[in-house]
């Protein structure tokens, strides 16, 4: 449980210093400040001294496989988990010492939907506005604005259970912006959506960034979505491996690769033996080789040109950056510990939603 009364009962002089601090953070343009965060679960280190800053107004992506520590980090930043060491500031407010203040400044879109299915679209937004203490007139205005942005104005009075998955996600984004959120966290906002809905969500996010001063922190495992971020942090096993613009990451860690499908097992064995130190990845009928200079492909073709079924040259991408930093590909995730209960609920178990 996070300490909550800190920012409420603090004495005037302390409040003075707090507001000065946040002003400093604002003027320095820092949206989120993370300093030496450590979180342990028993002997497992979920976060290992993670530090970084996110500038105000930045689109910041967190990239990492399932279990890398992304969600732990996000939960600490959202004040629902407290760190064992280190501290984090949201728009100048400490997530542990000033949790209530930090919460007023952040909006969250969780990976699993957290809407109330039995309330209407409007009622969900109204609930959010009330819980965040948004004054009535502003609340109504914001609800209209946000529904317009995510194109759900016509669905206002519909029960949320009648909405599609994509619409629910849009509604959640709208909801996170009913109050004065300055930092918006999105945990896999496009997972489980079709390409069209994904593009739509990104369009809304870009629109919103232009309309209001908003810092976006997004976790995703769709590499192509990360490409549009201002900066990317790559996390694996609780450690921050790299943090930079997508372009800089690609030029520093990315490399060209060659995917080849040998015609038979014999050829495969030959290639494996000859290019031992160049093999990046092997699968049943495909080998991935690192291309260090242009002459390599020429060289490879002169020997094996007639003995491969297919060959693809792949330009450096964040995928290959990730591969070279962590030594493995980003896996698709999905898997819930509470499947039984959820399945029961989805079947329409009694007194559920």
């Amino acid at each position: 449980m996070v300490h909550e009364e800190g920012d409420v009962k603090s004495n005037p002089s302390q409040q003075q210093s707090i507001s000065t601090h946040s002003e400093v953070a604002q003027s320095a343009g820092i949206g989120v400040e993370v300093q030496g965060l450590v979180k342990r679960y028993g002997t497992l280190v979920a976060l290992d001294h993670v530090s970084f800053n996110v500038k105000a107004g930045e689109l910041f992506a967190l990239l990492g496989p399932n279990g890398a520590g992304k969600t732990t980090l996000l939960h600490i930043l959202c004040t629902i988990l407290s760190p064992d060491e280190g501290r984090a500031l949201i728009a100048g407010a400490d997530v542990v010492q000033q949790a209530l203040r930090a919460r007023r400044r952040l909006g969250v879109v969780f990976q699993e939907p957290s809407l109330d299915d039995r309330l209407t679209v409007y009622e969900n937004l109204e609930f959010h506005g009330l819980v965040y203490g948004v004054p009535a007139a502003l609340r109504r205005k914001r609800i209209d604005e946000m529904l317009h942005v995510v194109e759900l104005s016509d669905w206002r009075e519909r029960l949320v259970r009648t909405l599609s998955v994509g619409m629910k996600r849009r509604l959640e984004i709208a909801r996170a912006l009913i109050h004065d959120s300055r930092v918006l966290f999105l945990d896999e906002p496009t997972v489980g959506l079709d390409a069209q809905s994904r593009a739509r969500i990104w369009r809304y996010l870009h629109d919103l960034r232009q309309q209001r001063d908003l810092t976006l922190i997004v976790t995703t495992h769709y590499i192509e979505e990360v490409e549009q971020a201002d900066r990317v942090a790559i996390i694996d096993q609780g450690k921050l491996l790299a943090i930079d613009t997508p372009l800089a990451l690609k030029s520093a860690h990315g490399h060209e690769v060659l995917e080849v499908s040998p015609i038979n097992a014999e050829v495969r064995a030959h290639i494996l033996a000859e290019y031992q130190n160049k093999i990046v990845k092997t699968s049943e009928d495909q080998l991935t080789l690192k291309v260090e200079d242009g002459r390599f492909i020429e060289h490879f073709l002169s020997i094996y040109g007639s003995q491969v079924r297919a060959m693809t040259r792949i330009e450096p991408s964040l995928e290959s950056v990730f591969l070279s930093l962590t030594g493995r590909a980003i896996r698709d995730q999905e898997a819930s510990a509470r499947e039984r209960t959820l399945a029961f609920g989805k079947q329409g178990g009694e007194h559920t939603r």
Binding site: R101, R104, R118, P135, H351
Partner: protein, 284 residues
């Protein structure tokens, strides 16, 4: 669309906090109430349960209840069986609905709605307070549904009785909803309401002197002649006994125990259970 609303000032911390708490408790309460009225199954239960207990069970057992002589012991409860169980059915309805509110705590947790409130600037105690308040309101409403049957049960009710009765019902509902939340906190995998019903509701109900009286006209020794010793003890230890007794006193003016005991024990339950639920909620 270009001009988004101006940023709210958070200079006045205290005013913001008060607005968050008042608005938040209201929003959470309203959500509980709205959800309950949209759940047809729950509403149906709220109507059908009292009908079955009063019209079938009550009418069926009515002839066997009054003024009978069993051996040397004569019962002196001066009411019909229908009148006798009528207030207990109110308690039963409250019991069911309070526990259903607890089940909604499980769904909020599993389906993530709880997180929406946990990342909000609402202080934790008020989140729980709103939730319990909402559950208790709905439970009180379901309890009062049973009042519709007062005509069949031959229980004349004055408006003063209704008012004080609603107060008692709310007190009971608040305690029971808190108890439900405590139980819900201990449940990791939930696959049905049946467990609750069989493990919590029915034992509490049957052991609360709801369907049979511990006749106050009998001495302790005589009571133990009629009923086994363990049963008498269980009934006396069950806090719901005193709640049922209090409701019975309110509606048919018949008390088996000291009339002051009921409200006291109900208030104690409300404070104790809410306190425990709160301590656990803050810890998680």
């Amino acid at each position: 669309m270009s001009a988004m609303s101006p940023s709210q000032d958070d200079d006045n911390e205290f005013a913001t906090l008060v607005r968050v708490i008042c608005g938040g408790v209201f929003a959470i309460w309203l959500r509980e109430v709205k959800r309950a009225f949209r759940d047809r199954g729950q509403l149906f239960g709220g109507f059908s349960r009292p009908i079955m207990w009063v019209v079938i069970m009550g009418v069926g057992l009515n002839p066997y209840f009054r003024g009978e002589v069993y051996g040397e012991v004569r019962f002196v409860v001066p009411y019909t069986y229908l009148q006798f169980i009528f207030p207990a059915v109110i308690a039963l309805n409250i019991l069911y609905t309070s526990v259903q509110a607890a089940v909604s705590v499980i769904w909020d947790r599993e389906f993530g709605f709880l997180r929406e409130v946990l990342v909000s600037p609402m202080p934790r105690p008020f989140i729980l307070f709103g939730k319990v308040l909402g559950g208790a309101t709905v439970a009180m409403f379901h309890g009062s549904l049973a009042l519709v049957l007062s005509y069949f049960a031959d229980v004349p009710i004055s408006s003063a009785d209704i008012l004080s009765g609603l107060g008692l019902m709310f007190l009971l509902a608040f305690g029971l909803t808190s108890l439900g939340v405590i139980i819900a906190n201990r449940i990791r995998s939930f696959e049905g309401f049946g467990v609750f019903s069989n493990a919590v509701i029915l034992p509490l109900y049957f052991c609360s002197s709801s369907v049979f009286p511990l006749d106050p006209a009998l001495t302790a020794a005589q009571t133990r002649v009629v009923y086994p010793d363990w049963l008498v003890r269980v009934v006396e230890l069950n806090p719901l006994t005193y709640a049922v007794d209090s409701l019975r006193g309110n509606f048919i003016h018949f008390y088996q125990f000291d009339p002051r005991l009921g409200p006291l024990i109900m208030a104690g339950m409300a404070v104790l259970f809410f306190g425990i639920a709160l301590a656990e909620f803050r810890r998680n």
